[in-house]
C-alpha cells in the first residue's frame, strides 16, 4: 500500500532517515508547491503507479498521511509551548508592525530564534515522549496509527456519522484544509492590532488562551501562521531551522517508534483513512465557523467594553462518562412512617408491593427504612427498590437519585449489576443517552464477566457522542444475544437491554421485538408490558400501545407510569379530555398518600388541558399551585 511506501521512503531521494522527510512537511501543507518545485520525493507520491492502488484512494491516503505527519511532528511540541509563551511576543509583534522600523525586525527575529530554540528543545522532548508513549504497546493491535494520532479520539467519535455524508466532497475538503485555519488566525491578528496598548495585553492573553483551547492541540500548529504576516514568515523560517535542530535530538526516541510503526503488518484499512479524512475536514470547517464568530465577538467586546458572556450554566452537570450529577436523594418531609412503630419497613414495603398497594405508600415506607438504617441485602437493596418504586410511580428524578445511590453502594459492596438496568432505563426516559449507554455497558460487564468488551467500545464511552457509542454497544449486545441463541438460551434481561438500546435510538420496531421476546419468558411482568406499550406509542402506534398498557394495568392497577402512558397515548390520538382524566387519576393516586405528586404528571396534564382550550384550568394545573383535584372534578372531568 502506498502508505507503507511513504513510511519506508526507501526509493526516495530523501535522506535515509524518514524523519527528515517528515520534517519537510512541518511548515505547512506546501504539497502543491512542492509538487512542482521540489525533489522527487513528493512528486513521486502524487504519481504512484496506478497498479499499486486506485487513484482516489491514493490521494486520500496521501492527504491523510500528510496530516498525520504534520500533526505529529510539529503539533504537540509547538502547541504546548506556543500557547503558553507566545502571547506577550505576539503583542509585541503587533506593536512593532505599528512602528514599522525596518532595522528592528532583524534583531528581533534573531532573538526570537534563540528563544525558540530553547523552547523547542525543552517543550518538544516532553511532548514527543508523551505523544509516543502509548504507541509501542499498541503497535501490535490493528490500526496503531489511529492511537498515535493527536486528536484521534475526536476522529473516532465522529467516524461513523460523518463518513457517508462527506464521502462525496472529500477531495475538495482535502485541499481546503489549510486555508480555513489561516483565516481564523488572521481574524485574531486583526484583533490584536485593534487592541494595542498595555491594558489590552491581558485581554489578548485571555483571548489567545481561549482560542488555543478551542483549537485543540492538533490545530495549533505553527504551520498555519505562515501566511499571516511577512514578519511571521520570517519567524517561521527560523522556526523551521529550530525544529530541524531539535529534531536530531529526538531521533533516537522517534526512530524506535518509527520502526515499530513500519514493522506493523497491518496498515490501517483504506476506509478508515477516508473516514479520518472526511472527519478531519469537517472538524476544521466547524472550527473555522467558531473562529469567525469568535473574532467578531471579541472585536465587539473590545469596542463595547465588558463583553456579555454567558452566565453560570443552569444545566445538569455530567461526570466523565455522561452520568448526570443529581445530588443526594431528597427524603420526603413529614413521613408518617417515621413516627409509627414497625418491625421492618423493608418487608412491610415488599408486602405492600406484592399486594398491589399504593406505590407512593411503599416508597414512603422504603424511605423510612433507609432513614432508620434498614438497608437490606448488601446495603443497596432498599435503595434500589426505592428507586424502582419511584420510577413506577412516575417520579423519575427521585427514582434516579435513589438508583444512583443504590448502584454506587452495590459497586462498592462488590456486587455490581444490581439496579443498573433500571437506572439505564431511567436515564433513557430522561434522554440522558450517554449515561444510559454507560450504565448498560457496566451492567453487561457485571452480568457477563467472561465476555470481553472491545477496548474501542470501552474507550468510546468516555469520549464519543451517543450516536457513536450506540452503534458499538448495540453490536456488543447483539453478538451476545446471538451467541446465546446459538446455545438455545435466551436471557430476558439481555433482551430488555437491547430493547432499551433500540428505543434510545428511535428504533421502536426492533425495541418492540425485544420486549416481546422477553415477555415470552416473563408474561406476568407488568413492567415489560408497559415497556412494550411505550415502544408502540412512541413508534406512532398509540392505539396498539393501549392494549399493552391494559395488560400492565391488569397485572398492576396502581402502576402510575402505565396510567401516565395511557394518558400520553390518548393525547397523541387527540383524545385530550380522556388524557387529562388519566393524568388526574394518576395524580389522585399519588395524592392519597399525602406525599408529593409528580411534576411530570402536572406538566403533561397542563398540556392536555391546553389542547382542550381550557387555559383557565391549565393555570390551576401547576405543581406549585397545589390545586385540589376536586376543582377538576367539578369541571366535568371524570377520574
Amino acid at each position: 500500500m502506498s502508505f507503507q511506501g511513504l513510511i519506508s521512503g526507501s526509493e526516495c531521494a530523501a535522506p535515509a532517515n524518514p524523519l527528515s522527510q517528515v520534517l519537510k512537511h512541518t511548515e505547512g501543507d506546501r504539497s502543491l508547491q512542492q509538487d512542482r518545485v521540489s525533489g522527487p520525493s513528493t512528486s513521486r507520491l502524487h504519481q504512484l503507479p496506478g497498479s499499486s492502488s486506485s487513484a482516489p484512494a491514493t490521494e486520500h491516503d496521501l492527504a491523510l498521511a500528510r496530516q498525520f505527519f504534520e500533526g505529529n511532528s510539529s503539533g504537540p511540541g509547538m502547541s504546548s509551548g506556543y500557547t503558553m509563551q507566545y502571547p506577550p511576543e505576539l503583542a509585541r509583534m503587533s506593536e512593532m508592525s505599528m512602528n514599522d522600523r525596518p532595522g528592528m525586525s532583524d534583531v528581533w527575529a534573531l532573538e526570537q530564534q534563540q528563544q525558540l530554540r530553547a523552547l523547542e528543545e525543552s517543550a518538544a522532548k516532553g511532548a514527543w515522549a508523551a505523544e509516543f508513549g502509548n504507541a509501542p504497546q499498541q503497535s501490535s493491535s490493528g490500526p496503531s496509527i489511529q492511537h498515535a494520532m493527536p486528536g484521534g479520539q475526536e476522529f473516532q467519535q465522529q467516524r461513523s456519522s460523518f463518513m457517508p455524508m462527506y464521502a462525496g466532497s472529500m477531495p475538495v475538503a482535502m485541499y481546503g484544509l489549510s486555508s480555513p485555519m489561516q483565516y481564523g488566525i488572521n481574524a485574531n491578528f486583526t484583533a490584536v492590532d485593534h487592541g494595542k496598548g498595555k491594558a489590552r495585553e491581558a485581554d489578548f492573553e485571555a483571548a489567545f488562551a481561549k482560542i488555543a483551547e478551542s483549537l485543540g492541540p492538533e490545530e495549533t500548529q505553527t504551520s498555519r501562521i505562515e501566511e499571516v504576516d511577512e514578519r511571521v514568515t520570517e519567524i517561521e523560517e527560523k522556526l523551521k531551522n529550530a525544529t530541524l535542530n531539535a529534531g536530531e535530538d529526538e531521533d533516537l526516541n522517534f526512530q524506535k517508534v518509527w520502526d515499530q510503526l513500519q514493522n506493523s503488518d497491518l496498515p490501517p484499512p483504506k476506509e478508515d483513512m477516508a473516514k479520518w479524512e472526511a472527519e478531519f475536514s469537517q472538524l476544521m470547517n466547524a472550527q473555522r465557523e467558531e473562529l469567525e464568530d469568535y473574532g467578531t465577538n471579541m472585536q465587539k467586546a473590545w469596542e463595547g467594553g465588558v463583553g456579555d458572556y454567558a452566565g453560570p450554566s443552569q444545566g445538569v452537570k455530567f461526570d466523565g462518562e455522561g452520568i448526570p450529577i443529581l445530588g443526594d436523594y431528597l427524603f420526603e418531609k413529614n413521613n408518617k412512617y417515621l413516627e409509627s412503630e414497625s418491625r421492618s419497613y423493608l418487608s412491610d414495603a415488599k408486602q405492600l408491593l406484592e399486594s398491589n398497594g399504593s406505590l407512593s405508600e411503599a416508597a414512603l415506607m422504603l424511605e423510612a427504612a433507609i432513614q432508620r438504617g434498614e438497608l437490606g441485602e448488601g446495603g443497596f437493596e432498599t435503595w434500589i427498590l426505592l428507586g424502582e418504586t419511584r420510577n413506577m410511580d412516575e417520579r423519575e428524578e427521585a427514582g434516579m437519585r435513589a438508583l444512583l445511590e443504590g448502584v454506587r453502594i452495590a459497586e462498592q459492596a462488590g456486587a455490581p449489576g444490581a439496579g443498573m438496568l433500571s437506572l439505564a432505563i431511567s436515564f433513557t426516559n430522561e434522554s440522558y443517552d450517554r449515561a444510559s449507554h454507560t450504565m448498560l455497558v457496566r451492567w453487561f460487564k457485571a452480568k457477563y464477566p467472561g465476555v470481553p468488551i472491545p477496548e474501542e467500545t470501552a474507550k468510546s464511552i468516555g469520549t464519543n457522542s451517543s450516536w457513536d457509542t450506540h452503534e458499538r454497544i448495540t453490536h456488543l449486545f447483539m453478538e451476545q444475544a446471538r451467541s446465546q441463541h446459538g446455545q438455545d438460551q435466551m436471557d430476558p434481561d439481555l433482551q430488555i437491554a437491547l430493547g432499551v438500546l433500540f428505543y434510545t435510538n428511535g428504533d421502536y420496531e426492533r425495541a418492540q421485538d425485544c420486549f416481546v421476546a422477553a415477555l415470552n419468558v416473563r408474561p406476568k411482568d407488568y413492567l415489560l408490558w408497559n415497556r412494550l406499550g411505550s415502544s408502540l406509542s412512541n413508534g406512532s402506534k398509540p392505539e396498539e400501545a393501549l392494549g399493552a398498557y391494559r395488560e400492565a394495568l391488569q397485572l398492576r392497577p396502581t402502576y402510575t407510569r402505565a396510567i401516565y402512558n395511557v394518558g400520553v397515548a390518548c393525547l397523541n390520538i387527540g383524545a385530550d379530555k380522556e388524557a387529562a382524566e388519566h393524568f388526574l387519576s394518576a395524580l389522585s393516586l399519588q395524592e392519597s398518600t399525602n406525599g408529593d405528586t409528580s411534576d411530570q404528571l402536572w406538566f403533561t396534564l397542563r398540556r392536555a388541558l391546553l389542547s382542550m382550550n381550557r387555559s383557565d384550568l391549565a393555570d390551576l394545573a401547576k405543581p406549585e399551585a397545589k390545586s385540589n383535584l376536586d376543582v377538576f372534578r367539578r369541571e366535568g372531568l371524570d377520574f
Binding site: 456519522s161 451517543s466 391546553l610 401547576k622
Partner: protein, 128 residues
Amino acid sequence: MSDDIKAPGFKASELIAGLESAFSKYSDAEKQSQIKKTNGIFDLQVSNDAKETVTWTIDMKKTGTVYKGKAQPKADVTIILADDTLLDLASGKLNGQKAFMTGKLKTRGNMMLATKLDTVLKGAKAKL
C-alpha cells in the same frame, strides 16, 4: 405573535409556531426543567424546495423561547436541514442520527447537543 414566527413557503412554520406557543405557555417550573435537561441554544437553518432559507432559534438554555432569526448572542449548535426533514424529525419518521448519516442534516458547533434535538421537537413521550 405567532404570525411573526412563521415563514411563508415553509411547511415547518406550523411546527415552529406550535413549539413557540407551547413554550410561551410553559410555567416557570416547566421551563426550568426543560432548560435543565437540554441546556442549549439551537439554530435551525431550514431550506425549502424553492432554495429559500430561514433560520429559527430554539433557546433552551437561557430564556426558553423560540424565535425567528439567528440566535443572540450565539447558538451552541447550528442545524442545517431541509423543510421536509424537519417535519419528519418532529413526527418521529426520522431520527436525528439517521438524518445525519444520510446527509439530510448537517451541524455546525457542538454536535453532542444536536443529539438532543429529537427531544426538543417531540411532544409528549411515553416512558419505559
